[in-house]
């Protein structure tokens, strides 16, 4: 789009192009906090009474190299960035100590079978349809922190899609006896 605009602008100076970029930046919707990322399709898995944790999922497109390092939400005192992976037939879940890096122009999909934002020590259940406020904290290349707020509607349990899709590069079902 920038290229098309530049060709259309013809011989206008780089300065003017820069001003257009700044205008776009200012006019960017709220979800694109400071233009570093775009977050789409956020959702949280609803919980039942007594369930202390759940996952939030979304797509994050980075407009510059960023790292998702933390999050906070009024519904959970503890928020962590987790990765789930299958090692052979075993499921492992880990907090990402250094956050989730996303390269410029790339979209990280936080979805079942991969990454999620874990909401921990929930004081009360998250009801289906409830809009869960969630603030995600990113760092940019210079280490500066950026906060991006989203509202993630809660989807019912049992609607995670019938097929348990494995992300690329993970183990196929018939590999057993993986060394540990």
């Amino acid at each position: 789009m920038t290229q098309a605009k530049q060709s259309k602008l013809g011989k206008l100076t780089k300065k003017l192009a820069g001003m257009v970029a700044v205008a776009c930046w200012v006019a960017a919707p709220l979800a694109q906090a400071e233009g570093i990322v775009t977050i789409s399709d956020p959702w949280v898995q609803a919980t039942v009474s007594g369930q202390q944790a759940t996952g939030a999922f979304m797509k994050i497109t980075a407009h510059q190299p960023v790292r998702l390092v933390a999050g906070f939400s009024p519904v959970a005192p503890v928020v962590e960035i987790h990765e789930m992976k299958m090692v052979g037939d075993r499921m492992q879940m880990r907090a990402l100590a250094d956050g989730l890096p996303i390269a410029a122009g790339e979209t990280a999909e936080l979805k079942p079978g991969g990454y999620h934002v874990m909401l921990i020590n929930l004081p009360k259940p998250i009801e289906v349809g409830q809009k869960v406020p969630l603030t995600l904290v990113f760092t940019d290349g210079s280490g500066q922190r950026h906060e991006v707020a989203v509202e993630a509607p809660a989807r019912p349990l049992g609607q995670m899609g019938g097929a348990a899709k494995m992300p690329e590069g993970q183990h196929r079902p018939h590999h057993h006896g993986h060394a540990h």
């Binding site: 007594g50 299958m86 075993r90 879940m93 907090a95 079942p112 921990i120 349990l157 097929a163 899709k165």
Partner: protein, 200 residues
């Protein structure tokens, strides 16, 4: 007489050739998508209290295809995915779906109380059975019987459980038949269950 003998030999020989061509000692071995573990020397059964405190064993599920899954409620990913898949399998089986059931064994009995497990399973299918090992020793025994791995892993302020994500499937006669990997889709799983319900 000699002619008769050789004819008989020929027939027996033909029989053997046919037998071999059909696949040796199990000429009608059904083709499953999941791993066929028929005759396995593990997963011979369990005796665990359900969410209402009743002791449940394989005998309670005769006439049904039972899928036994080990998991924990604070699990945001594998467990709800596996349970959602089971719901999809049941739907795909149509009327036969009433003869397919999941028993969910918690590997986190510390946090997964009977009431939490019951309300969690109800969110998927009220017919699913929750099994709660009353203590760590019982959990260790049942996990050993199923060769299931589980481990408590601290994560910052809390802990998570690593665990085997395989669903162990019994036929209507209560025999362990299939080990269903986490990655197997609902369509394939449903096809396998349908075969077992047809007596495969």
């Amino acid at each position: 007489m000699g002619k008769e003998m050789s004819r008989r030999r020929l027939l027996i020989g033909c029989g053997w050739v046919m037998f071999a061509a059909l696949g040796g000692c199990s000429p009608q071995a059904p083709r499953f998508h999941a791993q066929d573990v028929t005759g396995a020397d593990y997963g011979r059964g369990f005796s665990l209290p359900d969410t209402e405190g009743r002791i449940r064993t394989l005998a309670d599920f005769r006439g049904e295809v039972l899928g036994l899954f080990f998991g924990f409620i604070q699990c945001p990913d594998v467990c709800p995915t596996a349970l959602s898949r089971a719901v999809a399998v049941k739907e795909q089986l149509g009327a036969q779906g009433a003869r397919f059931r999941i028993a969910f064994v918690t590997v986190d009995p510390e946090r997964d109380t009977p009431s939490v497990v019951r309300s969690y399973l109800n969110a998927f299918d009220p017919s699913f059975v929750g099994l709660i090992p009353p203590d760590q020793e019982t959990l260790a025994q049942v996990a050993k019987e199923y060769r299931v791995f589980y481990r408590k892993v601290p994560t910052g302020s809390s802990y998570t459980m690593d665990h085997t994500a395989t669903t162990f499937v019994y036929d209507p006669q209560g025999r362990l038949r299939l080990a269903v990997p986490h990655a197997l889709g609902a369509n394939e799983f449903a096809a396998d269950v349908a075969l077992l319900l047809q007596g495969a």
